[in-house]
Symmetry: C2
Subunit: 363 residues, 2 copies
C-alpha cells in the first residue's frame, strides 16, 4: 500500500481544533487498512510568528514541497494585528500558494438540503444549489509589482498595487474551469470587468479564444464581476462553474459560500499544474480562523474534514475512501447532529470533538 | 427665482425612457412655480458613438462643466460590444466622473416596506434596511497608470492595471462618510483588503487617523472587503454608512442594491468637492441600461426620478421640493402602482410612462 505524505498546518484560532478532528479520521482510515498516511505537523500564521518570528518557516516550506498534500486550517487573529505587512499571518498562506504554484482554487458552494433554512436567502433560491467557483490563485493584484507605499515630498503617502495577468495564466485557469464543467452541467460563466480593466479585456479575449479552439462543446457566458455578485444573490442556481481572477474570486466565492447557509461546511482545494502525473495541492476550509469562538469546542469541523475528502480524491486517488468519508458526513447530518453554527434555534448543538467522533462512528 | 441649469444625458437602452419621465417632473415643478430649470439634453455612451464616434463629445463635456447638475440615464449595450476599449460607451461615464472631479459616490440601499417581498433575502433580514455605500469614484484601479496590454516576445500578451491611492484621496472620501454618518445612525464601516493590498494598508491607516483626529464621536469598524460582502448577505442591517474604494464599491454597492429587492428604485449621487459654496454633481440610477427591455415601456423610472430628488436636495437646495417628490413616489407605491420589476406574481403592472404620470399626479 502506498504511503501518502501529508503536511498538516493547523494554524491559528479554530484551526488546531478542526485539524485535530482530521487526525482522528486519518487514524481511522489507517486502522481500517484502507490507506497509509505519513503525517507531519508544522506551524503557520500567528502560531509560526510566535515561535519563529515569521508566518512560515523555511523548514515548513520545505516540508510542504515534499508532501503529497498540505492540509491547512486557518490563520490570523487580533493578537497579530500589529506585526506589520511582511510578517502578517496571511503572508504564510500566500507564500504557500505562490511557492507551491497552486494557481487553481476550487471552491464548491453547496447548499445541504438539511441546512437550506440556515441561508439568508429564501429556501427556493438556494435549495439544491451546487456551484463551483474556480478562482485564479497565484496572480493578479495579490502578487503584482510594484506593491508599495511611498512617502511624497509633501508628506502625503501614495500606495500602489498592481494587477497583472498574462495570456498563459488566464488560459490555464480557464482550462481547469472548462474541464471541470465537462464533468458537471457543462457550462462556465467567466467574470471580469472588461469595461474598466485591461486585465479584464485580456481575460475575456483569452477565455473566448480558448473556448472556441478547445471547448466549444461547453456553454460559455461572460458576466461583469459587479453584475455577477448581484446575480449570485438574485438567482445563484443559474451558475454551474464560475471562473474568475484572484481578487474577484476572493469576494465572489465568499458571497457564494455565505448563500449556502453552510459556511462552516465548505471545503476548498488549491491545485498546481500536473507534472509527471502528480500535482501539488493544498486543502483548506473556506471559513477563517474565527478567533471569537476559538478554544471553546464550538467550531464546525466539517469544512476541514471535507477538505480531507477532497485530498483523498484529487491528490491520493482514493476515490472510494473520499465517497465513504463524504457519505459519513451526510449521514451524520441526516441523523440530526449539528454544531452550533448550523443548529436551528432551540436545537441542541454538539461540540467540535463530538462532531468529529460522530463522523468517525459513521465511517 | 434662481434658474437651475441641468444637463440631461439619457444615454442608451432604457436611459431615454426613464429620462423622459424626469422631464415630466421638471415641467411640473416649473408649472407649479416652485422652481425654474434650464434643461439641456445631450448624448452619451453608445448614442454619442453613433452620432459623433466618441462616447462623449467635447461639447457635451463643456455643457456638463457649465451645468449645476448632470442627470444621467444609463450607457452601453450589445450594439457597441466591438467598438474597442478607448471608445466603449462606459468611457463617457468614466470621463464625466473624472473630469468633473466627482470623487464621492453615494449609493443608498433602501428596502421599501411594500417591496420587501421582492428581495431574495428573507423578509426579516431586509425589512427596514437603510444603508448608504460611500464609494470613492475618481481613483483606484479605474484610473491608475500603467493600464495597458503589451505583447511579449513569445507572442503572449500581458495586461496591467494599477490601483493607486494617496492619503488625500482617502481622507476626503472618509470625511464624506463620517459627515454623513453624523446625520444618520452615527456609524461607519470601512472596507478594504489590508491583508493583501498596500492600498488597503494605507486606506485603513488613513481612515483610522482621520477618525481619531476629527471624528472620534462616530463609531468606526474596519472590515475586510470579502468578509463585508458576506456580512451584507448575512445581516445587512448591521451597517449604516459603508465607505470603500472604487472597485470594492462597485461590487459591494451592487450587492447591497440587489438585497433590497428594489434595484429599479435606487438613485445615486456623485459629488465633487465644495468650491465657492457649490459642488459639481451627477445623479444617476443604480441600475444599468437593460437593453433586453429597452423601448418597450417596461422600465421602472423611479430610480431616475429619485435621482432628480437627490439633485433637488444636494445641488439646488430645494429641500422641500425634494421631500415633496420623494413622498409622491412613496404614495404612488402605497397606492399599489407597480412597474413589472416590482409587481408581485399575478399583479397588474403599469408601464414606464404610466408610472411617471402617476407620480406627477401625486405631486
Ligand atoms: C486570508 C486571505 C489572505 C485570503 C485571501 O484573500 O485570499 C482569504 O480571504 C481567502 O479567501 O483564502
Ligand atoms: C458602467 C461601469 C463603468 C460602472 C462602474 O464600473 O463604475 C457601473 O458598473 C457603475 O457601478 O456605475
Amino acid at each position: 500500500m502506498a504511503t501518502h505524505k501529508i503536511l498538516l498546518l493547523p494554524g491559528d484560532g479554530i484551526g488546531p481544533e478542526v485539524a485535530a478532528e482530521v487526525s482522528k479520521v486519518l487514524a481511522w482510515f489507517t486502522r481500517a487498512g484502507i490507506a497509509q498516511f505519513e503525517t507531519e505537523t508544522d506551524l503557520v500564521g500567528g502560531a509560526a510568528i510566535d515561535a519563529h518570528g515569521v508566518p512560515l518557516s523555511e523548514a515548513a516550506m520545505d516540508r510542504a514541497k515534499a508532501a503529497d498534500a498540505v492540509l491547512f486550517g486557518a490563520v490570523g487573529g487580533p493578537k497579530w494585528a500589529g506585526v506589520g505587512y511582511a510578517k502578517r499571518p496571511e503572508a504564510g498562506l500566500l507564500r504557500l500558494r505562490k511557492d507551491l504554484g497552486l494557481f487553481a482554487n476550487l471552491r464548491p458552494a453547496i447548499c445541504y438540503p438539511a441546512l437550506a433554512e440556515a441561508s439568508a436567502l429564501k429556501r427556493e433560491l438556494v435549495e439544491g444549489l451546487d456551484i463551483v467557483i474556480v478562482r485564479e490563485l497565484t496572480g493578479g493584484v495579490y502578487f503584482g509589482e510594484p506593491k508599495e507605499i511611498v512617502t511624497l515630498e509633501d508628506g502625503q503617502k501614495r500606495a500602489i498595487d498592481t494587477q497583472i495577468y498574462t495570456t498563459g495564466e488566464i488560459e490555464r485557469i480557464a482550462a481547469v474551469a472548462f474541464d471541470l464543467a465537462r464533468k458537471r452541467r457543462n457550462k462556465v460563466a467567466s467574470a471580469e470587468k472588461h469595461n474598466v480593466m485591461k486585465t479584464g479585456v485580456l481575460w475575456k479575449e483569452t477565455v473566448t479564444r480558448l473556448h472556441a479552439e478547445q471547448y466549444s462543446d461547453v456553454g460559455l457566458e461572460h458576466v461583469l464581476a459587479d453584475n455577477c455578485a448581484m446575480q449570485l444573490v438574485r438567482n445563484p442556481k443559474q451558475y454551474d462553474v464560475l471562473v474568475t481572477d484572484n481578487l474577484f474570486g476572493d469576494i465572489l466565492s465568499d458571497v457564494a459560500a455565505m448563500l449556502t447557509g453552510s459556511l462552516g461546511m465548505l471545503p476548498s482545494a488549491s491545485l498546481g499544474a500536473v507534472e509527471n502525473g502528480t500535482r501539488r495541492a493544498l486543502y483548506e476550509p473556506v471559513h477563517g480562523s474565527a478567533p471569537d469562538i476559538a478554544g471553546q469546542n464550538l467550531a464546525n469541523p466539517i469544512a476541514m474534514i471535507g477538505s480531507l475528502a477532497m485530498a483523498l480524491r484529487y491528490s491520493f486517488g482514493l476515490l472510494e475512501a473520499a465517497d465513504q468519508l463524504e457519505s459519513a458526513i451526510t449521514r451524520t447530518l441526516a441523523a440530526g447532529t449539528r454544531t452550533r453554527d448550523i443548529a436551528g434555534p432551540g436545537t441542541n448543538a454538539v461540540g467540535t470533538t463530538e462532531m468529529g467522533d460522530a463522523i468517525v462512528r459513521e465511517l
